[in-house]
Symmetry: C2
Subunit: 123 residues, 2 copies
DNA sequence: TTTATGGTTGAACAACTGTTCAACTGTTAG
DNA sequence: CTAACAGTTGAACAGTTGTTCAACCATAAA
């Protein structure tokens, strides 16, 4: 969701110094909604608990209890994060009796993780 | 950064149901620090203001004033975000008189944005 | 020197976020 | 049925975050 107390009208406190550049760049910017969606997607990955859960599920399908033990967290904390990952379709689940098995929903995660890992490694 | 009131000892509230799976996955997980660094990197991209600034700089080098006008934000707000992007080496700058020109520091941003854009597009 | 302006900075504030806790649901075992 | 347990959920709380505001620094123009 982001900070949602943005001003209704976009206001800045100066005149543009290079109007030509601003006009040109304005023409090249992606749709506002796309940039917001991208930020939203990145935000999901911007928490180490969620990253750890995703790496775990990348290795193997697991139930909440197992993830809980693996990461040393309560089932509740894990469940809350799984709900977020489920909402954005990054993980899926199947129920077997009282046990719920979670797994990655698609291959995107792996692609994005690889691209990011290179970036992190370089610094 | 992150939430820093984590418990000293990792505690969970159950026994593992599939010990073999947990053991196997534990062996495949990346270093804890790597996962934290990855989350940290994603966190930077997880804000639409920063994403918009990066897209703008991807198109052309710009001064704070121009970005300010382009995005309809105060110079202060832009400057604060540029400081964050500077700290993690995503943008660099050069001064000409009182004007500070910002630009992307490397090609990583473009790679990561491309990978993410595909993901966002699909939904 | 004085004034104006591009840009930075730190404090303050409201909104947001992740974990904890307790209560709860649903399924299995006795 | 009852007890146990995997998992979920919502409220509460402390910590974090982004924008605003005011003060400030540095350079350029007058």
């Amino acid at each position: 969701m982001q900070q949602s107390f943005m001003p209704e009208i976009a206001v800045c406190d100066c005149e543009s110094i290079h109007e030509d550049v601003v006009a040109a760049v304005r023409g090249q910017l992606p749709e506002e909604d796309l940039m917001i969606d991208m930020a939203e997607a990145f935000r999901i990955f911007g928490d180490s608990t969620r990253v750890r859960i995703l790496f775990a599920l990348k290795a193997h399908e697991m139930c909440v209890c197992d993830i809980s033990v693996l990461l040393g967290m309560t089932k509740s904390a894990v469940s809350h994060q799984l709900r977020i990952l489920k909402q954005v379709n990054l993980v899926k689940y199947r129920k077997v009796g009282r046990v719920v098995y979670y797994s990655l929903a698609d291959e995107h995660v792996k692609t994005i993780f690889s691209a990011c890992m290179e970036h992190v490694m370089e610094d």
